[in-house]
């Protein structure tokens, strides 16, 4: 079952992409940058699902009499829907970012926290 690094190359690529996305989400304060990082994370999951379905010598799962060996169609179906749902949720996140920008005037996480803290301090000082 377990081979060398070469047999797991696709997994390693997926892991590295996933970690790059994770890093962007954690380290960057800008909300739009965070969403781009999140979508990179998502594409790494696509890769993780699609790669095991491939068979050497197989062809795309569209049946024709000339071919006998097909790649596994099931991951394709799952990821196909995941992509479209992914873009819909990405748009939802962007809509939230736009609303935050209208309320706070910024999309930087630190500045939003600072504004929140300032409001909290002012409310705490009032009574």
């Amino acid at each position: 079952m377990s081979g060398g690094l070469l047999e797991h190359f696709s997994h390693i690529v997926a892991v590295l992409l996933m970690v790059a996305g994770l890093h962007v989400v954690m380290a960057r304060g800008n909300l739009i940058k965070k969403l781009v990082g999140l979508s990179i994370f998502q594409t790494s999951v696509y890769l993780l699902y699609i790669a095991p379905g491939k068979l050497i010598g197989g062809t795309a799962p569209i049946l024709a009499p000339e071919y006998a060996l097909y790649s596994n169609p099931l991951p394709h179906v799952l990821i196909l829907t995941a992509i479209v749902v992914g873009v819909a949720t990405l748009a939802l996140g962007l809509a939230l970012a736009v609303r935050i920008r209208e309320a706070y005037g910024t999309i930087e996480e630190d500045e939003i926290t600072a504004a929140d803290n300032a409001v909290q301090d002012a409310e705490g000082a009032k009574p």
Binding site: S39, G58, L96
Partner: protein, 170 residues
């Protein structure tokens, strides 16, 4: 190529460049998916990832500032955390079946039945999507619909009663 695009993407602070790079990244991902025989997925990724989501990101960017602020704290903690996650995941991946191993569980379970073509639709992906897994797809369509409804709810309001939100910001 893709690693390069991602690295530059992580480093760049100009959001416009980031968005264009993510479009390029999507196209590269689509070509990779073609190489892995997932033509349907590649088509969707090219249309959605490189087309629609780039336009959406640019539209959102138009409403926000296009330069990212310099991070105040050093990114060592997230970086080390990410690298630790990477190490752990790669260690776990070594236990997974080899690439293109015909004996892997994924090729043994339900896929052979899907490939028998009971419904007489040559494109198996379409058959599985709409017929065998109809409930899944109904759920996904509902999720897409809900996301659309959520965006309408978030962005529809005109700008007249702005003062409440504005006060909160100040």
């Amino acid at each position: 190529m893709m690693a390069l695009a991602v690295l530059v993407l992580v480093r760049t602070r100009n959001l416009f460049a980031v968005i264009v790079l993510s479009g390029i990244y999507s196209f590269l991902m689509a070509t990779l998916l073609v190489a892995l025989d997932a033509v349907d997925v590649a088509m969707t990724e090219a249309a959605v990832g490189a087309g629609v989501s780039t336009v959406l990101l640019l539209g959102a960017l138009h409403l926000c500032k296009s330069e990212e602020a310099k991070p105040v704290h050093r990114p060592w903690l997230p970086l080390s955390l990410s690298l630790a996650t990477a190490g752990l995941l790669i260690y776990g991946a070594l236990g997974l079946p080899d690439f293109a191993d015909p004996a892997a569980p994924i090729h043994r379970h339900v896929a052979p039945r899907y490939l028998q073509n009971e419904v007489d639709v040559p494109n198996v992906v379409t058959a599985v999507l709409a017929s065998f897994r109809g409930y899944d797809t109904l759920g996904e369509t509902t999720v897409v619909f809900t996301a659309g409804a959520g965006i309408i709810a978030l962005l529809r309001r005109r700008r007249h009663p702005r003062n409440e939100d504005g006060d909160h910001g100040k």
